[in-house]
């Protein structure tokens, strides 16, 4: 019995050392923004990210900001409700794209603070409900 407990103890020691190592590596990597899929508008402003690099920007499509007046190009503002950044994009938008919807755009931050996107992805949230329920929730809000 004693040998079994010793083996269990050694395995526990190994597993805890190993997870500490992996955990701290992941922590450092996330501090370096390696593991983030997208930046928020506030990140872009606060972290002073240089223009000209490819990156992803995520947030909500600001209400009333979608402008389709200039032909194939669409422009809108991506906001995290603190900061917002103007995005220009030419191409097909995903079906879920609309004002107030979460999006992740991929492209380059231009010199004048305008984000030139070449890919727009819709971000789905974790809420699922039938259309009637969504309707009645909306009515209650108004």
């Amino acid at each position: 019995m004693k040998r079994k407990w010793r083996r269990l103890f050694l395995i526990g020691l190994f597993v805890s050392f190993f997870s500490t190592a992996v955990g701290s590596t992941l922590y450092v990597l996330s501090r370096l923004d390696v593991l983030t899929f997208f930046y928020s508008p506030t990140d872009l402003v606060r972290k002073n990210i240089l223009s000209g690099f490819r990156l992803r920007l995520g947030g909500l499509v600001e209400e009333g900001s979608v402008d389709r007046s200039s032909g194939k190009m669409v422009s809108f503002r991506v906001t995290d409700l603190k900061q917002s950044i103007l995005v220009r994009y030419t191409g097909i938008l995903p079906a879920l794209f609309r004002e107030g919807q979460g999006v992740v755009v991929e492209g380059i931050l231009g010199n004048e603070g305008v984000f030139i996107a070449d890919r727009v992805m819709a971000k789905h949230d974790e809420v699922y409900m039938p259309p009637e329920v969504a309707e009645s929730l909306k009515e209650k809000d108004i």
Binding site: V22, T36, F37, Y39, G58, I92, M121
Partner: protein, 255 residues
């Protein structure tokens, strides 16, 4: 502690034969009910009919992680108690887990293409699940790479424990880092953010697929035990033919 007696391979085989038809019937019932409610449940306000993929995707994702947890517990059984059934359990579960993980990835892609606009992104959640799939493939490959069952069993168990760290990473990836994948809808603070009419088919399908997993797992364990017995009988026979009269020492070595 009745279950401890099942660590005896003979009792285990009898238990499998006894419960197999009942488990199969329960799995069939749950899947039929689950499918019925999956198609009768309302469409989603954003995705429409597309939401029905989650009734397969989410149970597959849960089971691919649950299966890995089962493998990690079995790995402890191999390393600490050196029990041969624990090794049988890892070998039985790994391919099933690999298939369930592959189905998680495939159904997720089918859902993602119309929803996000892209079938695949390298965000933390998708990448960590892909790593889980590779871990399963690694376990399968390693278990076939070494011929000596005891040595390969130990190697596989160590790899399984190393890969265990991936489970919390998968679970919390959507909370720790910004990902395109949405956070959990069911197991989260503040209760499920899923409408009850959608929760019912999801839970029924989850139960049904869990039973299917248990069925496949028990079937594979039974086959592995029988295969090992046949192998050791063949070895015995070969030794007896090579030098008649000597008592073989392989008897009872494996199972």
């Amino acid at each position: 502690m009745v279950f401890l007696r099942l660590t005896n391979p003979n009792l285990f085989l009898r238990f499998v034969d006894l419960f197999f038809p009942w488990l199969a019937a329960a799995a069939g019932l749950c899947l039929c009910g689950g499918l019925y409610f999956s198609f009768m449940s309302p469409p989603d306000y954003q995705q429409g009919e597309l939401v029905r993929i989650i009734y397969v995707h989410v149970p597959m994702a849960w089971l691919s992680m649950g299966c890995y947890f089962l493998i990690a517990v079995s790995a402890l059984g191999t390393l600490v108690w050196r029990h041969p059934l624990a090794d049988v359990s890892i070998r039985a579960a790994a391919p099933v887990g690999a298939v369930f993980t592959a189905l998680t990835l495939v159904t997720g892609s089918i859902w993602a293409l119309p929803t996000w606009g892209v079938p695949w992104v390298w965000d933390a959640r998708l990448t960590s699940v892909l790593i889980l799939f590779f871990l399963y493939l690694g376990l399968i490959a390693l278990s076939h790479a070494i011929e000596d069952l005891r040595r390969s069993g130990r190697a596989v168990a160590i790899l399984a424990l190393v890969g265990l760290i991936n489970l919390p990473i998968i679970k919390f990836s959507v909370n720790w880092w910004s990902t395109l994948h949405q956070p959990a809808s069911l197991i989260r603070s503040g209760g499920p953010s899923l409408h009850p009419d959608m929760l019912r088919p999801l839970l029924m399908m989850a139960l049904g697929f869990s039973l299917v997993f248990v069925l496949l797992y028990l079937m594979r364990m039974r086959n592995e035990i029988l295969y090992r017995r046949v192998t050791s009988l063949r070895q015995m026979q070969a030794r007896l033919q090579a030098s008649p009269g000597t008592l073989p020492d392989v008897f009872g070595e494996v199972l």
